[in-house]
């Protein structure tokens, strides 16, 4: 076994170790914490490259590299041994490289972004813990190990969303995120239990005995449940519910936009590039289970159909909400939800390679966009409302250039940007999906909306005039206070700019990661074009089409859609920029109050507030009531009955028994008193009685004995 396979655990262990050490370090050890965290990520990145090289060497169809070990024994014999382990295959390898590389850049960026935060050290503890857990998800060769790391990832997400815990909104958002994802995790947990029972193991690969290998799959496909679905499909659906929660798919998407309460590097790392993609990764990992179907049946199992539909609906649903948002990070958050929907759709229609390619390209350009947004927010003194920005391009040229690259990649600008190729791949797969064409049309609509809202955002943020001075509502004083409070960096060496209230460019420690990510957002297109689908074949897909007529036709269509979105966006927002932050949005003229629906996110939050949350509160009150009054009441009733009974018996005692008793006692007392006269301790009396008794006895014997 090669060294890297045996020691793959080092990759998550390094950041974990850094997390442990920085957790023990006092707050003032800022340099130590940052350098330790970054150093561990460098180490993890280098090891990931080694792992990648090994995966290249083996290729997608070679034997799986894995290493399993006994974790615990819970029953007799071999079936009672619970094994964990890790696996190194192309899927692991590309995720490892992506997570460590993007993570490393975001760590570096955070040094600048969080420079003035008093909890700087703790921030790096949580970030490192996150990186370790996420890498654990990636390498796990056991659904249980994956679940363990999955929950830890959720924990760090909770901690980091609530990093500025003194803000009530952050504390609430953190809780919401954890609980919403846990709703999905509960189903995931049940699916895992079911899988464990059916397959007898939770290991993915174990020389033919794993739960994703032929033997187990055949067994699970053969059985059907009472719903008429194969067991494998039911398990797949339950596991997918976990992915829905983590990846913010409809209907569990509500937490992700709120998660933007966390510091921006967190949004970039966790809520854009890596953790939210873990759901997509999970589906990719258990893909053989989701896709397992009996010989001769359609390859589109119910599980994969569910993945496709949920993904497609999410893609267009979230994109339409993004159109009407005004918070720069929330637009990106809804965009993330929408793009995750695309990935799911890609997995459902085209398989692992299609979904994963979009996951990887999206990770780069979305991290880029979030970090660019962070740079803008920081440059604009903690302003997040795009209506109050404008014309920032001239103040922040590097941020603008890199942001533009990210925006074009996300919008899917043809040929030069990675997002175009990965999205096109998904649309192509959806187009060829035999079940229905609706997901394809939803995807196309989503692509149009994506181009549109990104153009709107960029036009409002970077072009036109700066509208921040024209604010009647939020005074600069307030803004400054917010700036001081949230401890964001004020960029060393920019003290002069700080005073002038003008937006300013961020320091190099923040801009360099942007530049590198921008380069990747363009450069990654090379590895997945139809001309040279290296990425797809590395993940085991069979793509030999090249630029066929069908492919080119779709490319042209999607390019036209993107141009339409970009054009409309520019026509509405870029052509004659608004002068005032309070001007109504042009989309408010849309019929049927559509804009209101978009802006209010279709009222889903309110709906949940009215139904789920109210039901939860109601059932809690009902249980408490039941407890206090019904059960407690029954107990109280019994105790009062007992008390009443005691009173009755006491009365009976006092007046019936005691009276009689006292009477008889009186008798006894009198008798006793009389008797006690005989026992007064005087010897002469005793002797007198003794003598009398003796006389009586003698008389008795004389008279009686004669007979």
């Amino acid at each position: 076994m090669p060294w890297i396979v045996k020691n793959l655990w080092l990759i998550p262990a390094l950041p974990m170790l850094a997390a442990g050490l920085t957790a023990l370090a006092p707050q003032r050890c800022r340099k130590f914490a940052a350098s330790l965290a970054i150093g561990s990520m460098v180490g993890a990145f280098l090891l990931s490259l080694c792992a990648f090289a090994r995966a290249l060497q083996i290729g997608p169809h070679g034997p799986k590299d894995f290493y399993n070990f006994d974790w615990l024994q819970f029953a007799a014999g071999a079936p009672g041994v619970l094994q964990l382990g890790w696996v190194l295959d192309p899927l692991t390898a590309v995720m490892l490289v992506m997570v460590t590389f993007v993570g490393l850049l975001i760590f570096i960026y955070s040094v600048g972004y969080m420079a003035h935060d008093e909890n700087f050290t703790r921030f790096f503890t949580f970030l490192s813990l996150f990186a370790g857990a996420m890498l654990g998800v990636v390498i796990a060769n056991s659904l249980l190990l994956l679940f363990i790391c999955w929950e830890l990832v959720g924990l760090t997400s909770y901690l980091l969303i609530g990093f500025w815990y003194h803000r009530p909104s952050a504390a609430a958002a953190a809780k919401k995120a954890f609980i919403t994802t846990r709703v999905g995790d509960v189903f995931f947990f049940l699916g895992m239990m079911w899988l464990y029972h059916e397959a007898g193991t939770l290991l993915f690969y174990d020389e033919g005995r794993g739960c994703l290998e032929q033997g187990a799959l055949i067994g699970m496909v053969a059985q059907t449940t009472s719903l008429g679905l194969a067991v494998s499909t039911c398990i797949g659906l339950l596991i997918f519910a976990g992915a829905v929660g983590k990846s913010g798919q409809v209907p569990l998407h509500v937490w992700l936009p709120d998660a933007m309460e966390g510091p921006t590097p967190v949004s970039a790392l966790i809520h854009a590039a890596t953790m939210v993609a873990a759901g997509v990764f999970l589906v990719a990992r258990v893909f053989p289970l989701m896709a397992a179907h009996p010989e001769g049946a359609a390859a589109e199992t119910t599980a994969l159909q569910a993945v496709t539909w949920i993904g497609a609906i999410t893609a267009v649903f979230a994109a339409s909400i993004a159109v009407a948002q005004n918070d720069i990070k929330r637009i990106l958050a809804y965009s993330t939800v929408s793009q995750l929907g695309y990935m799911m759709m890609g997995l459902g229609t085209g398989g692992v390679a299609v979904g994963m390619f979009h996951l990887i390209t999206h990770a780069f350009f979305k991290a880029l966009l979030f970090m660019g947004a962070g740079s803008v927010i920081h440059g604009c003194h903690e302003e997040q409302d795009i209506r109050r920005m404008g014309g920032i391009k001239k103040y922040m040229p590097i941020t603008f250039a890199t942001y533009a690259v990210g925006m074009l990649a996300l919008a899917g600008f043809p040929l030069f940007f990675s997002g175009f190729w990965s999205k096109d791949e998904i649309l192509h797969a959806a187009h060829g999906w035999p079940v229905s064409h609706v997901p394809f049309y939803l995807g196309v609509a989503g692509a149009f909306l994506t181009a549109f809202y990104m153009t709107r955002q960029v036009a409002l943020v970077f072009f036109g005039n700066n509208r921040s001075e024209a604010l009647p509502s939020r005074s600069t004083h307030e803004a400054k206070e917010a700036h001081d409070k949230s401890h964001a960096p004020n960029a060393g060496g920019h003290a002069a700019a700080e005073d002038s209230r003008a937006p300013h460019e961020s320091p190099p420690v923040m801009t360099w990661p942007l530049i590198i990510l921008a380069a990747c957002a363009i450069g990654l297109s090379v590895i997945g074009t139809p001309a040279w689908p290296w990425f797809q074949s590395f993940l085991g897909a069979h793509h030999a089409e090249g630029f066929t007529a069908g492919v080119v036709k779709l490319m042209v269509i999607s390019a036209l859609i993107v141009f339409a979105g970009l054009g409309l966006g520019w026509w509405l927002y870029g052509r004659k920029p608004s002068q005032n932050a309070d001007e109504p949005d042009v989309l408010e003229k849309l019929p049927l109050g559509m804009h209101t629906w978009f802006a209010r996110k279709y009222g889903i939050d309110e709906l949940y507030e009215l139904t789920v949350i109210r039901f939860n509160a109601w059932s809690a009150r009902a249980c408490a009531f039941l407890d206090q009054w019904i059960w407690g009441g029954a107990v109280a009733l019994v105790s009062y009955l007992m008390l009443g009974f005691s009173w009755v018996s006491r009365a009976f005692d006092e007046f019936v028994i005691n009276l009689g008793f006292d009477q008889s006692c009186g008798g006894v007392t009198r008798g006793g008193r009389m008797m006690s006269r005989f026992q007064d301790g005087r010897v002469q009396n005793y002797l007198r009685i003794l003598g009398a008794g003796l006389v009586a006895l003698v008389l008795f014997l004389i008279w009686g004995g004669g007979k």
Partner: protein, 523 residues
């Protein structure tokens, strides 16, 4: 056995030191020092026992007896531990010093207080090691008396009612159980030969079906069908344990007792005393009444599910930290009940042996983990009360993280352990329980996961209201943990990590016992 009667020593040590401490009179420091010394000595002894225990065997070890005690009644002095008993003895030995350490503020009659805690420890150890019903029952009841006085004398404002309710409730259950066992005793007695009080013999008789025949045959004077009679006897025994765990609807004493008792006493109540009930379920009900559980399986599983879900919901409705944690305790032990009932399910398919062993191992782990975590949590509450002058409402605080980061960090870890976060101890037990229960009773497992979800909700609510949010200015001087407190608290916290990451530490000791119990359940 000619070896040192180590179990007797472990039982008598706290009893004797309790008498000494109580007899000392009002020497606070001396009493505390002696009590702590005794409890640490017990811990050392139990750790020694743990080391020399053979984990590969599921049989009873360190057996003493059976020595005849009251031969005419078949009462024997019969002690021994298997993996389960040993684990519970260890838990007792761990939680008692934790509770003693947390009781630093006891000023009122400290010698009595410390003496009673040690008496309680003796009662608990006796319960977990005795193998004869009579002997066991003495300790079972004996532990109730110090617990009653500890609640009654050192509790909060409404302690009198809470203590009385606690005592009477438990007593009713105990009497029902006693009657059930007297019935069995009568049924098993032959002319000139006393009946059977010995758990192991009774289990053997239950397995061979003798008990089932004897009961109706001997107790024919009761005008009931055989099946009903058996169920009445079973119901009596069940009630005793169901009150102790508690299982809904026999739980109403618990929130009052746990919240009115002073927090160190609550540590003992929830940490160890609640385990007596589950221990009884596993040690006594499961081997002696497996058929009866099986007859009543569906309603019993429903009761377990209701216990799990209702208590979690009720916890969410509370506004007092101690009451929340009290309901959370019911919830956590509900998973144990669920597993115990599922294990009794009649099935002969061989693969279910694995699932049953998993569930039983899960129960043992959950008992230990809950004891550790709940005791730690009430310890933290005790520290909050010390700092806040007795306040412990959910809405009395806010933003404590700012002034007491270490306190909030460590208590946060304990709360997440209670939530069942993987990587900490709580998860492994719950995982194994669900692993076992899901195939045996899928619907019960599916409903029970609601409890997992609601637990997360109320625990995060605690974190949100108490630790997060803007700092409540009233507490701007809230002191963080002192170095000494950190040094003490770090031990349970470290154990949570160790058991979460390396559960073999415990599992290797209990696994053989669980396997053996499942083996003997085949009927």
């Amino acid at each position: 056995m000619n070896e040192l009667p180590i179990l007797t020593i472990i039982t008598l040590l706290p009893l004797v030191s309790g008498i000494v401490v109580a007899g000392l009179g009002e020497h606070r420091k001396l009493a505390r020092g002696l009590a702590l010394t005794s409890s640490f000595l017990s811990l050392a002894l139990v750790l020694g026992l743990w080391r020399s225990f053979d984990g590969n065997s599921g049989l009873l070890q360190f057996v003493e007896g059976p020595h005849a005690w009251i031969p005419t009644l078949g009462v024997q002095y019969y002690l021994g531990v298997d993996g389960l008993g040993l684990l519970m003895v260890l838990l007792t030995a761990l939680v008692v010093p934790m509770s003693l350490l947390a009781s630093g503020r006891v000023a009122d009659r400290p010698h009595v207080y410390y003496g009673l805690v040690l008496f309680l420890q003796a009662g608990l150890v006796g319960t977990f090691t005795a193998l004869n019903f009579f002997h066991w029952f003495i300790f079972w009841e004996l532990s109730l008396i110090p617990a009653f006085f500890l609640v009654r004398l050192w509790g909060g404002a409404a302690r009198a009612a809470a203590a009385t309710q606690f005592f009477v409730y438990t007593m009713v259950g105990s009497i029902a159980m006693l009657l059930a066992f007297l019935a069995i005793f009568l049924a098993t007695s032959e002319p000139g030969q006393p009946g059977v009080f010995d758990f192991i013999t009774l289990a053997d008789m239950a397995r061979s079906g003798t008990l089932e025949q004897l009961l109706p045959a001997k107790l024919g004077w009761i005008d009931l069908t055989a099946r009903k009679l058996l169920l009445v006897v079973f119901g009596g025994a069940l009630l005793g344990f169901a009150v102790k765990v508690p299982m809904m609807p026999f739980h109403t004493w618990l929130p009052a007792a746990y919240s009115e008792a002073s927090s160190p006493v609550t540590m003992l109540l929830t940490g160890v005393m609640s385990k007596m009930g589950v221990y009884g379920f596993v040690r006594i009900l499961l081997p002696i009444f497996p058929q009866h559980i099986n007859w009543m399986l569906t309603p019993l599983l429903w009761l377990a599910v209701i216990t799990i879900v209702f208590s979690a919901c009720a916890a969410f409705a509370q506004r007092d930290l101690k009451r929340m944690l009290a309901y959370s305790s019911i919830n956590h032990l509900g998973y144990c009940l669920l597993a115990v009932f599922a294990v009794a399910k009649f099935t002969n398919a061989p693969q279910f042996a694995t699932e049953k062993a998993a569930a039983l191992n899960g129960v043992f782990l959950q008992m230990f983990n809950h004891g550790l975590t709940a005791a730690a949590l009430f310890w933290f509450v005790a520290l909050i009360e010390q700092r806040s002058g007795g306040l412990r409402g959910l809405n009395d605080f806010g933003g404590l993280r700012k002034v007491a980061p270490i306190f909030c960090g460590l208590m946060g870890i304990a709360l997440f352990s209670s939530l069942g976060l993987p990587g900490l101890n709580g998860f492994v037990g719950e995982f194994l329980i669900f692993k076992g229960v899901f195939p045996l009773a899928p619907w019960a497992a599916a409903f029970s996961v609601i409890g997992l979800l609601v637990t997360a909700i109320f625990i995060l609510t605690i974190l949100q209201r108490v630790f997060n949010g803007p700092l409540n200015e009233k507490w701007s001087k809230f002191p963080d943990l002192t170095l000494g407190e950190i040094a003490l608290l770090i031990i349970p916290i470290a154990l949570m990590f160790v058991l979460g990451l390396y559960p073999r530490l415990v599992l290797d000791v209990i696994n053989a016992t669980a396997v053996q119990m499942v083996e003997q359940l085949k009927f």
